[in-house]
Amino acid sequence: MRTTHNLILYITDMEPDDLRTAERLIEAFEEELGCVLEYDPEHRMLSLYTAMVVEPAEASGAALRQMLHCVYHLVGRFLQEYRLIFSVSTSSGASGSRPLGTILERSPYDRLLSQLITPEYPRLLPPEPPLC
């Protein structure tokens, strides 16, 4: 199973001399990580917006740590002084909960049906959709 995390990276407050090497850093990011850094000359800032897909999903923590390590390693190789902001978020915010049985309250069947929910009365329940 796979899962996705959204990554945002800002590299700001670079030294004026470092601006010349920013181009080399952009190339290194593209070569080593396959990500394209965007350069904003007005704010002397580099930014990255990307979604990272990890397979298996259980390895997400290790993959994110590795990514952070790579970013620090790459940036430290090219820039002298800088400020780095790195943000990670899950791509799906879907979450919630409900008590079991509410599905019947919303169904066209009478609410009393819930009292009959035993394996002996399976035919009274609404048709069963396929379980993924």
Binding site: L33, A51, I85, L131
Partner: protein, 121 residues
């Protein structure tokens, strides 16, 4: 482990959700327990008899809004058919990491210089 990057705004990315079922009460029908043992990814039983079953399932972000309610409905109906009475169905992103870091950095050469300066002082 395989890692690849895609568009930040892509809708077709895979996302993994954790769907958990909490069953209250001490005794549960054997067919219900059997179903959970076979189909759930993790299953815990507390000393008071209540159970927690976790299903880890992959969805795609673009179709999540249609597929997740269908999955929840199918699971809930199956549980009710098997005799589940009181309990809760919950869902949330699995392996969720939400954090941000902010820091100042310098090159390795500069870090070394700072260290040497400190040693000299």
């Amino acid at each position: 482990m395989r890692v690849w990057f895609t568009n930040f705004f892509a809708r077709e990315v895979p996302c993994t959700l954790e769907i958990s079922v909490t069953l209250e009460g001490g005794e549960h029908p054997p067919q219900l327990v059997d179903f959970l043992r076979k189909r759930a990814d993790r299953l815990w039983t507390n000393p008071d008899g209540s159970m927690l079953a976790v299903f880890i399932r992959e969805f795609r972000l673009e179709s999540l809004q249609q597929r997740l309610p269908r999955f929840l409905r199918a699971l809930e109906l199956r549980l009710l058919r098997l005799g589940a009475c009181r309990g809760t169905l919950a869902w949330r992103p699995a392996f969720a990491y939400n954090w941000s870091l902010e820091g100042w950095g310098c090159s390795r050469e500069q870090a070394l210089e700072h260290l040497l300066r400190l040693q000299r002082n």
